[in-house]
Symmetry: C2
Subunit: 303 residues, 2 copies
């Protein structure tokens, strides 16, 4: 059971993404979204010396608070990059989301704001309201353009010292392999991510969903490549099981959602070969259940 006290009452959750800002008024008793609102992020645009998304977020908070009939609601914000543990800023996010790095959201919104990394927020939604409800140890891996993740350990978010904890796509599974964006050789992200698929297959498959369509059509090259991906993922999960010892593993992101059983079934048989199972116990692996509003839900929950 989580040692984290269960938050209650209404809160506002903001999911600040690269293209859209999702905002929701969340009932933290059950995760219910009482009201939702969207704005474009307009990354790179500025207004009155601040990134335009700051103004959008402030407007969204005012709008949702007005709809709630309450004032001073807690606000949580999820964003890409590294979030200062239990803090109010993203401390590291180079290259995009211009102006986000170091921005003090409590000052921007003139109230205490808790900021969390977007993958961590998605996991919090699963722990609070979704497939991992009530569990003490669980991790989430998201398979999409890149491979992301977050860890819930001993009833708390594993942030690490600087908020970097849970970057599960950046473990090496091939110490002699090419380095990824964080310099990790042969990382899970490099071996599995959408980003590298075209290069890995000499242009034969443009995306993992293309590859999956070919798998379902029984194309031999696609079947071989998919089987290899399942092996790589199983070895990565086995490594992480030995480090984190979870009760449950959740798979999220577009690839997991698109593949469903075509991922879970072969993955399970690869895990049968490489997972350490003391006393015969296998760690269950499931698809994440919280949908595209998970970031806002998780952000609201931890606010």
């Amino acid at each position: 059971m989580p040692s984290h006290p269960e938050p209650t009452g209404l809160a506002i959750g903001i999911d600040l993404g690269g293209t859209r800002i999702k905002a929701a008024l969340v009932d933290r008793a059950d995760g219910h979204l009482l009201q939702r609102a969207l704005r474009p992020t307009e990354d790179g645009d500025w207004q009155d010396g601040e990134p335009r998304f700051v103004h959008h977020v402030a407007e969204l908070v005012a709008e949702l608070e007005s709809a709630s009939g309450q004032t001073g609601l807690p606000v949580g914000l999820a964003a890409p990059g590294l979030a200062a543990p239990a803090g109010n800023a993203i401390t590291w996010m180079p290259g995009r989301m211009h102006g986000l790095e170091g921005l003090d959201w409590s000052a921007c919104l003139q109230r205490p704001v808790r900021v969390v990394n977007d993958a961590q927020a998605a996991l919090l939604a699963e722990v609070a309201f979704g497939a991992a409800r009530g569990l003490g140890d669980v991790f989430l891996i998201t398979l999409g353009t890149g491979v992301g993740g977050a860890v819930w350990s001993g009833g708390r978010l594993l942030t690490g010292a600087r908020g970097r904890g849970g970057h599960l796509g950046h473990i090496s599974l091939d110490w002699q392999g090419p380095q990824d964006v964080f310099h990790t050789p042969g990382s899970l992200e490099f071996l599995l991510g959408n980003q590298t698929l075209s290069a890995r297959t000499e242009g034969r498959f443009a995306s993992t969903l293309d590859l999956l369509a070919a798998v379902r059509a029984g194309v031999p090259k696609a079947l071989a490549l998919w089987g290899q991906s399942m092996r790589v993922l199983a070895v990565g999960l086995s490594s992480l099981i030995n480090v984190l010892d979870p009760e449950l593993i959740l798979l999220g992101g577009g690839i997991s959602e698109g593949a469903g059983e075509d991922l879970l079934i072969p993955l399970q048989s690869e895990l049968d070969a490489c997972e350490w199972r003391p006393g015969g116990h296998a760690v269950p692996v499931q698809l994440a259940t919280a949908g595209e509003w998970a970031g806002a839900q998780g952000a609201a929950w931890q606010a």
Copy 2:
């Protein structure tokens, strides 16, 4: 800072190893060993229907308590295998330490006993009294016959759901490699451990300390192999940094102790190539400082 309340006063720490039982009366204010005592483990021998080591441990506790002039001192016990989180038993230890698995130490010693895994106990000694004193996030890797480890995360021991957390030697760095004892393909333990060295070098080096002597003598084959080992270790540490985000990494075990700077210096230059350093910050890597009584010290601290 650890959220763990600092234990105080005297406690008895027992380190139940494969060949010897080390027991100490520990002042938990500073880790000072006020009295030490040893017995052989005599694994496989039985007395009155119990493993003989149970009788030895009971005698050691009585002896140290009598020396302390106090009664009812807290007792902590460190042993190989998986320890039930915050429990009083090793729940999984196949193949050796006969009779240890499932043994209820609180019943054996007729008082509350906290049981912890031996690598975890060694890390607790570092956090309580050693190189990691006062830190919130740190992990220890022990390089020896095998490769072990333990994780301190957010001011607490990362046990995971079943006490398996921190088995850092069993992460894969080569998803196509041979499987180790826990089925992990190409694990850090397989690639670095003493156990596999002779096979890995076709009998040329019987132990890592032999290899190290050849490195110091400038033997080219030894230098190449040592360089490769440093690369493997750096990639493994980089993976774990991305998952756990520590403030400090400690290296323990016989290989680390024997190699010293011959390990730390080349390892650091390999880390320069593969460690993710947001904001330019590198995680410091040091040798563990708690010596061969660390297990008893750490066990006493968490009692």
